[in-house]
Amino acid sequence: MDRLDVRQTVYQVIMVTVVAVVVGAVASLAAIAFVEAVLLMNDYLLVSPYARIQAEDRHLLVVAATIAVPASGGLIVGLIVRWFVRERRALAPPDVILAAQTQRSGPGFRSGLASTLAALVSLGSGASVGQYGPLVYLGAMFGNLAGHLKLKLRHQRSIAIACGVAAAIATAFNAPIAGLVFAHEVILRHYSLRAFAPVTVASATGYIIANVIFDRPALFLVSFGHVEHSYEFVFFALEGVLSAGLACGFMWLLRASTTAAGRFPVPQWLKPASAGLVLGLVALWIPEVLGIGQETLRFATIEGAFGIGELALIIIAKLVLTALCIGFGFVGGVFSPALLVGILFGAFYGLVLPYLLPLPYSGLEVYAICGMMALASSVIGAPLTTILIVFELTRSYDLTIAAMVAVVFSNLISYRVIGRSLFDLQLRARGFDLSLGRDKAILETHPVRDYCSQAYTTAYLDEDLGTVRQRLVDDDRAEAMVLTREGKFRGVVRLQKLVDGRADAPLDAMIVAGATQFGDDTTVWQSMEMLRGFLGEAVPLIGGDGRLIGVVPEEAVIRAYLEIVHDLREEENEAA
């Protein structure tokens, strides 16, 4: 290594560390502020039980707040999204994945801030949505800012985004390893050391800050001894399978709700308010549907807190209302509701099981936690992260193994049925398909147009065969692009066919039938697929108006493929 290399390496390491620490600290502080603001609003707006019980003497006030707060929150959210988010929709983890995976510029900082504000109002006014999605976006937003600094670091943007996300998750869950793995598993989709090192630093920074200034009880605290009977692992696996079914149902409901919202005949900005009104009315009857439901989450691990029927009712209500809130435009995530529904389903399973199979069990807690993680991991497509959350929050090896079994079976099923996660489903709907891995998705984002060449031989439809043949010989090519005099593309002729034809024969009959051609929007991935069985030299690229833009030589397609895949492999295998 010469001196320049050493200096370059030192610069890289120091700079990457600084970026990681700064992004981690900022994302972590922002996450803390966000969570605290939500709690404050919940108290102030009589969403949290703690605030509601203190106003118990003024019963009418509580009733009025229950109906009015989510509805007016929805109205504000609708207006914020209408006026301040350029995309006019909630910005969420799929946008983060897209930003980290591609070079596209993504939503701007102002849109991001507005979306975060809308999420704050949604959560603050008790909408049945999650807080982790907005937190991930918040972290990514600051990462994206750092990604645009001119620091000349390789893959700076995607790594900085991952740092922000990891810090936000590490802070929110107080689980640094989970934060680290989440950023890789869900956002980056690879584990290269170059990314791994800064993301770890950012995650640890978030954890340290959270420990110093953020004093909140962990998401769940359970005191679990150990799984007492080995046959229970079969039940955990079965629970995972059933949870996958519920996860699929949840995602189906989300889609159905979005479709229904599209058909709902009110202006877009009024839709969240209508969902809020329904939520408030249901909350009068089932208060558990309001907000994130920390209390409900805790009760689910306590034997005797719920009856079986109650659990079923709350599970259904929470599923439907979460789908309603998100489909109708409240801004927020799906992870917290999935955790809540999952833990309730786990408790339900744990309560029903003894009736079906009268065997000794290790108690309700382990089934509740398994259900929680199995369902949530299927929804966000993060099995490793959820397993690690259990481990970091409970420090119980037994509980983690049990949850692992449930999570793995759940993901196995849900992957087959609906794909890796809700995020990937949403991305696929936007034309970014990660179901076959990063290669396909990234190749799909590169248009083959970028590899277009103008080195081709033109033939006009009214020219005779001999002229064209001579021109091909002069150009040293075997193919000519046939155009009308107006410049419209008509087809391809090949020298092989022209060789023994009469010189005055019309060109029309010589055009190769069904020859491969690319469109303006053909991607590198599609072009590779289309080249199957292709025998010529270059493929014509036709614009939307039927005019020839240029040709893409076979070699260029292969070069494009190799370059892109090489970049991906390099990114995935880089050392720090």
Partner: protein
Amino acid sequence: MKRLSVWMILVGAVLVLPGALFADERVLTVATWGGAYEASQRAAYFEPFTEQTGIEVRTVVYNGGLQVLREHLATGEVEWDVIDMIQSDASAACDEGLLETISPAILATAPDGTPPEEDFMAGAIDPCFITQIVFSTVIAYDDRAFPGVKPRTVADFFDLETFPGKRALRRAPVGMLEWALLSLSVPREQLYDLLSTRRGLELAFRRLDEIRDEIVWWTGGDESVALLTSGQVAMATGYNGRFFDAQVREGVPISVIWDGQLIGFNSWAIPRGTDQKAMAEQFIGFATRTENMASQANRISYGPTRRSARQRIGLHVETRVPMLPHMPTAPDHMDNAVIRDHRWYSQTVRLRDQWFREWLERNGDAGPDGSR
């Protein structure tokens, strides 16, 4: 007839007035909690106060709650000049307008010159009350009742199988709900969030149902100690200072379970309408002096809210037992200590009472008596 009654009033007035003007003028009435606690107050505050000012201190028994204060003020003849209240009660009473305001100027500076607002713990100096001690409600058990394995946790209080025997519990919805949920391994940070829901309250009362048949109720702080020391119950909830007194001064074989101790604060307050407000303030100023607070802390294991007083905690004045390890705030007692949420308590008085009364009635009980 009419003339006669007028005369009677006149005669009566002549007989009563001098008493009101002269005899009672030098008597301050303090409503406080009796027993060992009151004894420590008498030695540390009342007697030195009388010695210094010539004002006699008379006490009346007060066992917490707002209802008795409301009733007392409703009579129109306010006899209590000073009342020693749980901080949450004082805060609720203040909101209801049952208390006079207290000027913070009455508080003495610490001997080293630290101004009171820095010397007192945060939140202790309030317009309506001056918080003076940290006390704890704990579970104690009779060592003789459990010769083998000893109870160690709140959950053991609810475990009649392993630790059979009667349980003495205060007849008021204070502490019992927290312990019920703690025994179900609810983390202390979430107790009041969960107790804010209908489900949480139901869960707590269902847990109490499990020991319902073994409960012996107490109202005054000394009753709980008496029930335990006389062997009538195997475990009792009560105030840590009184258990300390029985254990250390009287040598009764009882032990305290610090797990799940419920930390609260007591405050001096002045009932609205007393005609001796100046004297009441004079007393509160005297009782909150560093050396007097330290003197009480060396008699009973309640922690003073002034730092300068805490620095003067030493050996018990009679038995020479070191006092610090018996304080609720001793480090190894704080592992699972619950700090009573005053805001929650003062805002849920009615609701808790109602739930408690309904629960008692459901179990064929007449409802809470004059415990509050």
